[in-house]
Amino acid sequence: MDPLRQSPSPSSSRASSPRTLSCERLGYVGIEAVLDQLKIKAMKMGFEFNIMVVGQSGLGKSTMVNTLFKSKIWKSTMPGLRVPMPQTLQLHSVTHVIEENGVKLKLTVTDTPGFGDQINNDKCWDPILGYINEQYERYLQEEILITRQRHIPDTRVHCCIYFVPPTGHCLRPLDLEFLQRLCRAVNVVPVIARADSLTIEEREAFRHRIQDDLKTHSIEVYPQKSFDEDVNDKILNNKIRERIPFAVVGADREHMVNGRCVLGRKTKWGIIEVENMAHCEFPLLRDLLIRSHLQDLKDITHNVHYENYRIIRLKESHALPQGPGWVNLAPAPPPAPTGTRASPGPAKMCRWAEDNSDEDF
């Protein structure tokens, strides 16, 4: 039983305005039990999470995803055995269901091989934006139906991890362009990839330069300042914002260190432990993404980014001229509408499971 609290006098003001009443003067009502009911319902329904990793090839995206979710979501490609580099940007999505302690999570990871790999990388963000908008479009379609499903399947990208190559200097023009466009449509978390090539001081300097760059170009990465709800949130998020972008190292091999089995990269000069805060900031990234802010990521995607998309979409339909078949819906227009179908030829979105890896799992 909860301790009885001193209740303020309930008969204070007019009945029409809500008043705060403490209902414990005479006993325990049991409103708290609704929290358990929520939990049970949520666990029964399961959770969904969609994540996208963007970055040039060789930055360790697949390895990072595997490390984050501690399972072989992807078979990380080894250099040398690699399939020849795709000539155009393609998006690959894999969906897995993982369960931990009764909590089922349907995880969808979208990879973007070929991003930034060409000589001319102009508009290489278009397919990505097109994919993101297409997911929003799908959700919007479902929401608009007359007879809608009880639970609309959520394929919207909740988080986009952007891998910044560890040059040590500052953000490149490609990075800036991409970040600027994407931050308006999705939650972006930039990380410094392959951070084991930077010393701690270089890392800090790089980080500060990146933060300055982001500020100069008014790029709001997750956690966005403008969505802080209250003071506690602000404090917590400020701490996170100080450390963004995280310098991470990914590894999916285990090694023995001091008798413990840890995930790490073994080099001639030592073993870089992934989960060791002194070595890299992977635990911070994992905590942010999974342990503390997962629900927040989903909420911001649903309440802010999706709503923005919806507003644009609905306003557009008003402006379009009428006539038979006047709404062409398939891919939604990119931020700078070209007037034609938004996903240009090179973009392809397909469900792809690596053909040589199925038998391993």
């Binding site: 909860d2 029409s16 969906t95 931990e100 007359i146 399947p153 927040d296």
Partner: protein, 439 residues
Amino acid sequence: MEAEANSGSPEDSWAFIQRPGEGCRTVPLAGHVGFDSLPDQLVNKSVSQGFCFNILCVGETGLGKSTLMDTLFNTKFEGEPATHTQPGVQLRSNTYDLQESNVGLKLTIVSTVGFGDQINKEDSYKPIVEFIDAQFEAYLQEELKIRRVLHTYHDSRIHACLYFIAPTGHSLKSLDLVTMKKLDSKVNIIPIIAKSDAISKSELTKFKIKITSELVNNGVQIYQFPTDDESVAEINGTMNAHLPFAVIGSTEELKIGNKMMKARQYPWGTVQVENEAHCDFVKLREMLIRVNMEDLREQTHSRHYELYRRCKLEEMGFKDTDPDSKPFSLQETYEAKRNEFLGELQKKEEEMRQMFVQRVKEKEAELKEAEKELHEKFDRLKKLHQDEKKKLEDKKKSLDDEVNAFKQRKTAAELLQSQGSQAGGSQTLKRDKEKKNFF
């Protein structure tokens, strides 16, 4: 730490996770990832947003609706008891913010006022149905807006309707049946027998059976506590059998034994509210608040609200057509309707304008007529005036003539007179006489 790979059976219980035609694999986890904190994250978010729960109490005046609410939530909600002289059924709604440990609940209690008091009760259910529909409508409007804020929207849809049945001991009144039939597709109905300390135990069982059979015979769908989730299936199942709950409400505390309890004291004994042997109040509180509050809210949203939305949109003329022909049908038909409406508006405007022009013309014509008339009158008067003047002038002339003639004669006569006076005296007498006779 080690999580198993589930393959096969449990997946049919997460119906949504499996999309047809998709190969969704479960992968084993090699360590503790940490997303088992997800339900807690979700719950924390909900706690910070707060919950909202809306109860509608339908029942005749004097059945103890306000008292029961006070007892359920352990507080004294404001409000004076209603009189029996209301001309029609009205709904009184009050919102309260309750706080228990760290959970904030925005509770709205809506009560009918004057239900069952009128002589002609045919339309008694209408205000209630209209109120419920109005809440759905408000939510629908918010959902259809272009710029909407659904996550901070204060949900005013009714989540549970407690229907108070008078403790006659015989059967349901026809007013009850009619009202419940109208409400069952719009809201979750939980029938309760009010003031059940007026019925004895044996009569109560018979009464409950009678009520349940009447409800079933008339096809009234009352809310069934959900039995699909194992953790609550058992308790909900047993509770379903106890419907309708026989409750007593009381906010007075009496010392019974050595504890203070809510009770009602009679000369022949004391009825304890929280004693399960005396009444079903505890069961009602369990079911309504502690076990099924979330389910009530979900049913309202996913069943009743969706039904309302579907009917309303179909009524407005929207249709879901095949995905390949016209996907964005809602928006398109909305546009079409909008233009239609605008067209109608324009037509009306035209009509009005034309009418206006016509009226103006008519009025102008009238005015012209009047003007003409006035002119004519003026002319006529002028003419008259002139005639008069002429006549007067003529008269004046004739008068002048006469005066002149007279003057002439006068002078003539004077002349003659002066001549006569020179001629002879006697003649003057005559002349004087003549003169006098002349005058």
